[in-house]
Amino acid sequence: MSQLSERPQQAVVGLPLPHESAALHVTGKALYTDDLVVRTRDVLHAWPVQSPHAHAEITALRVERAYDVPGVVRVLTGADVPGVNDAGVKHDEPLFPTEAMFYGHAICWVLGESLEAARLGAAAVEVEYKPLPSLVTVREAIAAGSFQGTGRHLSRGDVDEAFRDAEHVFHGEFEFAGQEHFYLETHVALSLVDEAGQIFVQSSTQHPSETQEIVGHVLGVPSHEVTVQCLRMGGGFGGKEMQPHGFAAIAALGATLTGRPVRLRLNRTQDMTMSGKRHGFHSEWRAGFDGEGHLVALDATLTADGGWSLDLSEPVLARAMCHLDNAYWIPNVRVDGRIAKTNKTSQTAFRGFGGPQGMIVVEDILGRCAPLLGYDGIELRRRNLYRLNDTTPYGQPVRHADRLESCWSQVSENGDVVRRRAEIERFNAEHPHRKRALAMTPVKFGISFNLTAFNQAGALVHVYKDGSVLINHGGTEMGQGLHTKMLQVAATTLGVPLARVRLAPTRTDKVPNTSATAASSGADLNGAAIKNACEQIRERLEQVAGGRLGISPRDVRFVDGSVRGLTFDGESLRWEEVVHDAYMQRVQLWAAGFYRTEGLHWDANAMRGEPFKYFAYGVAAAEVEVDGFSGAYTLRRVDIVHDVGDSLSPLIDVGQIEGGFVQGAGWLTLEDLRWDESDGPHRGRLATQAASTYKLPSFSEMPAEFNVRLLEKAHEDGAVYGSKAVGEPPLMLAFSVREALRQAAAAFGPSGTSVDLPSPATPEAVYWALEQARSSVRVEQLEASGV
């Protein structure tokens, strides 16, 4: 067991604690960025002027009329930018564009004494556009050869030979939709300038350091003149990893120009029409199976719909390609990946970060091919699972692959799957208008940023003279319970009760150069950094306590606020006494901690290496019932066993699993992004730009019965206190819902029916699928060729 993963006695990690802010959440006392506005004097409000064209040259911009509107204070345009006119790090996202690249693109911003004044001011700004041809769908972009960034290629084995030898070869094409984050709190920033001209930006951001960097480059000032703070976010899900920067920069620019605090908060429509989403993809594939249902060859081309600028599309694509295998051993693989450039919002990180988009392709293949191969989906998937000593197509050993089988058999057992499948068969025979189905799908998800440099973190831990502890780290809280876990890590490492530890909001002037709180890595990285800082302090205190107790410092133990020797019978000191002594002895009581994930290497060009510290595993079984009249369905029961290592905080982790699952089910079944693809005047407009038209899962989508268990004895040697990351992997457990819907639709037809199911599988999509099955025509026979 490694020093990083070993847990001491009476560890505070592992206790099922509620969210550290729970009492503030439920009483409405928890503050979010926009709640600070009423607590700040003389705030100006910002409103954008948005493009009504998917693609157009801006031939004239006249702002004078806006100043005629009472309460308008300032219109911000490109001419106001003292530094770099760019909202990103790739210099392809002008903060103030001269060419509107998508419908809703912000051309300029109006600052007003009230939001109403800013809104009316924006309406008074005159913009002349010269419309240009636009590409709205990924298919249009492919046809036009419109790509951006670097295309990638990943391969292993001899795919051509494998196809020649394969018993069955199928091919298909599959285009699937993206997803709106719909964090309940929209993008928001509040910026102030202090007496020395320093910029203070409060931002709802998952990446304060990068927000700081972008604000700095837009204003043309060094990073030490900009401080970014994030109290907490009302949800992030990846949508606030890259996208907050430009909004923060506008607020900061406004504050420097007017000398007054500037608030920029997008309303829901602005947020949905301006900010990036999960990438939709187009895929083309060919899959070869042997006579026993083993997937022996896979050839796929993935095209990510990147939108108008690169943003995080390249790493999203890389992760998609690295997760095409999901949890399956495929000896021969060839994957080509590319990023389409379209006139849409710039698509970005979203929980899973391309992983779901890679995995859906192989799950779709297995779901479509299973009936054609004569297997049910459960059996076909199980026989393709990775085994110990297998490696991924990019060359990383699949450590702990046996956990897939453990999760699978536990779900099968806990979920009483055999009995229920027999019941479902009886039910279906008796009910012509309703069909049920149960599907099981696995998840294997790589943990670490693909880009090795991001796998570092810092922390700052203060022990005050009275023994109270204040921790600060580079991670941000967006509801995932990171701060709760970090408090538990600090209390565990210092051996003090949880109540002795307090956590201060994330700020760039406390811990610099942080990575985004993303890639599920928040607890791994920041937890290890906090542990490192706490250990430095503890080691110093061991010296002090050892002296007082007359024992070797190595034998000093810190447990629940008392300090004593290895054995329980000797003298013990209170934590506060030792801290006091240390201060009197002029021992440093605070420390900066640092952590870098060891053992990673990745050749991004060759797409080979070991980019992940470990894999997180899980298996889900989902049972659905589909109404044959409408395609409407209910999720009857879900059973999950998921591997979070030895959990740092079980209540938090179960919450992440359940929430991720439902969010994934939303993506796959309900959430329906529609863009105007017509040639009409609103071409490129997001048609589903509000909660009334873009439907998230509500209570009605929650499984009626929802059983989540954590895989036991799941110690992860390489991570803080033996835990594993949990933010993203459970989202992909929702493939079980999609596959169950596919099977239920197929049950309306003769056995052996292969169903081609769009994503999202809305009731309408399911209806057409079951209609095809019902009409007893074999649904789109995937061409079985013996090439």
Partner: protein
């Protein structure tokens, strides 16, 4: 504008918030209750969508109850003009409890992992508290399914609240773990006294007016004089216009507390429902006596919306995708339209004249809805939507059919979502009436029904799905009722 029907603006307008009278102040008349609360530092309620879909803005208002004089009613603060709360009592999440002294609802949510990011949480707290205080919650529980707790908690109370983090399971567990209010619970006790009476509000700010006349005659007078006046009741539709489309009307007239518009009578020949009754109130007063409507209510938007939305409002907006018109068309309902010129009764089938156009004159107000009795024995409401709770229909169908001796004697079918107006499926009705109630008849009629209306493609559904759903709906109606005609025969 100044006539006698415009009451004198008063300066002491105030709202009792969390027990403290708070001056309404000189705010613009379109100001929402949410913005007003937040500007006063009560930032617990949040804006998540500004159109009554997410519930992050939910607060409690003391409203007239059906079982107790006052009911703590959860509403979307983002939709309500704050002026409409003049003289009223409001409770927010901050007023329910504090971190040191959590309300039972807050306690259960906090310890069970019911909050993650916490942004939606204050809204959930208020919606859940409304159900916690619902009179007769534990006694009148006929349901035992996963949408109803052992404590009588109806999960539909939370159907208007969205959470993007938890997946809802811990929130449901918290709701189902709630006990009864304790004997010293002040909010429970408050239900036993009457709610604050409606204030005769008259606000004029920056040339725009918000008026709440005390009498129906005053409203009709106003409408005669200013037919362009914006009538608001629950403001669940107008609030969206204000927030999303920036609509700023110079004259807003609130009618939701007028007693003349709040009549309810279940007589021998008809049911009379005042136009300003909310959907929630009607649901409680009808107690299932109009089965078609009982089937409709849980599918009509969310509890938060039903607590504000009125039946008159749903008909007044004349949306082709409103939920009540298909049901009321099937029930052969009529409307009583009132104006200074008098009252007239218009069959609902003659009321809708075009896209959001009606036969109601600009100076007329819907006073009540009449549903003739007796009801047909076979009824159903089918709503096709992406989501089971809180969604707008792609297609909605209301049925009222009488089958005697195996023959269809009467059939009325109302449709929504398939044309510019709600409409009656006359051709389908004709294909059923006088024919034997058999699968063959229904299959033929379903083919006719699939061709009713002129459905279109949009982000909710394709035209072909809408057409298919019409036919499928009739097949489903038959499948659900094939055996029931024997009982009525």
């Amino acid at each position: 504008m100044s006539t006698t029907i415009h009451p004198e603006p008063q300066l002491d307008r105030s709202i009792t918030v969390n027990g403290s009278p708070t001056a309404l102040g000189n705010v613009a008349v379109h100001t929402t209750a949410l913005d007003w609360l937040r500007d006063r530092g009560l930032t617990g309620a949040k804006e998540g969508c500004a159109e009554g879909e997410c519930g992050a803005c939910s607060v409690l208002v003391a409203r007239p109850g059906t079982d107790t004089p006052t009911e703590w009613t959860a509403v979307n603060a983002c939709l309500l003009p704050v002026a409409s709360l003049d003289g009223q009592e409001v409770i927010t999440s901050e007023g329910l409890g504090s971190p040191a002294d959590l309300h039972p609802v807050q306690q259960e949510l906090a310890v069970r992992g019911g909050s993650q990011c916490g942004f939606c949480t204050p809204g959930f707290v208020c919606s859940m508290a409304a159900e916690f205080y619902r009179s007769g919650r534990t006694t009148a529980n006929g349901h035992r399914d996963h949408e109803h707790g052992p404590n009588g908690f109806d999960l539909h109370a939370l159907s208007g609240n969205l959470c993007r983090c938890t997946g809802y399971r811990p929130i449901r567990d918290a709701a189902y773990a709630l006990g009864e209010p304790t004997a010293d619970d002040a909010l429970a006790a408050r239900r036993l006294a009457p709610p604050p009476p409606p204030a005769a509000t008259a606000m004029e700010v920056d040339g725009a007016e918000f008026l709440r006349p005390a009498e129906l005659d005053d409203v009709l007078e106003l409408l005669a004089e200013s037919p362009e006046a914006q009538i608001v009741a629950g403001s669940t539709d107008v609030g969206v216009e204000v927030n999303i489309r920036g609509v700023r009307k110079p004259l807003i007239v609130a009618i939701d507390r007028l007693s003349a518009l709040r009549e309810f009578d279940f007589g021998p020949d008809e049911v009379r429902i005042g136009a300003a009754m909310t959907l929630s109130e009607i649901e409680r007063l009808l107690k299932g006596r109009v089965p078609l409507l009982a089937q409709l209510f849980p599918q009509f938007a969310s509890r938060l919306i039903r607590n504000g939305a009125t039946i008159g409002g749903n008909l007044g907006t004349a949306s082709p995708i409103g939920d009540t018109p298909p049901a009321l068309l099937a029930l052969e309902a009529s409307l009583v339209l009132a104006s200074r010129r008098g009252e007239r009764v218009v069959p609902l089938a003659d009321y809708f004249t075009g896209y959001r156009q009606t036969s109601k004159a600009p100076d007329e107000l819907i006073r009540s809805v009449l549903i003739p009795l007796p009801l047909e024995p076979l009824t159903a409401f089918h709503k096709i939507a992406k989501r089971r709770f809180d969604d707008i229909s792609s297609v909605a169908v209301g049925y009222a059919v009488d089958v005697e001796d195996g023959v269809v004697r009467r059939a009325r079918i109302g449709l929504g979502g398939v044309a510019a107006t709600p409409l009656r499926a006359r051709a389908t009705e004709d294909a059923l009436i006088g024919r034997p109630w058999t699968e063959r008849t229904v299959r033929e009629a379903a083919a006719v029904m699939a061709a009713e209306g002129t459905p279109m493609d949009d982000h909710r559904a394709s035209a072909s799905y809408r057409s298919a759903m019409l036919g499928q709906s009739l097949l489903r109606f038959y499948a659900e009722n094939a055996s029931r005609e024997e009982a009525s025969a």
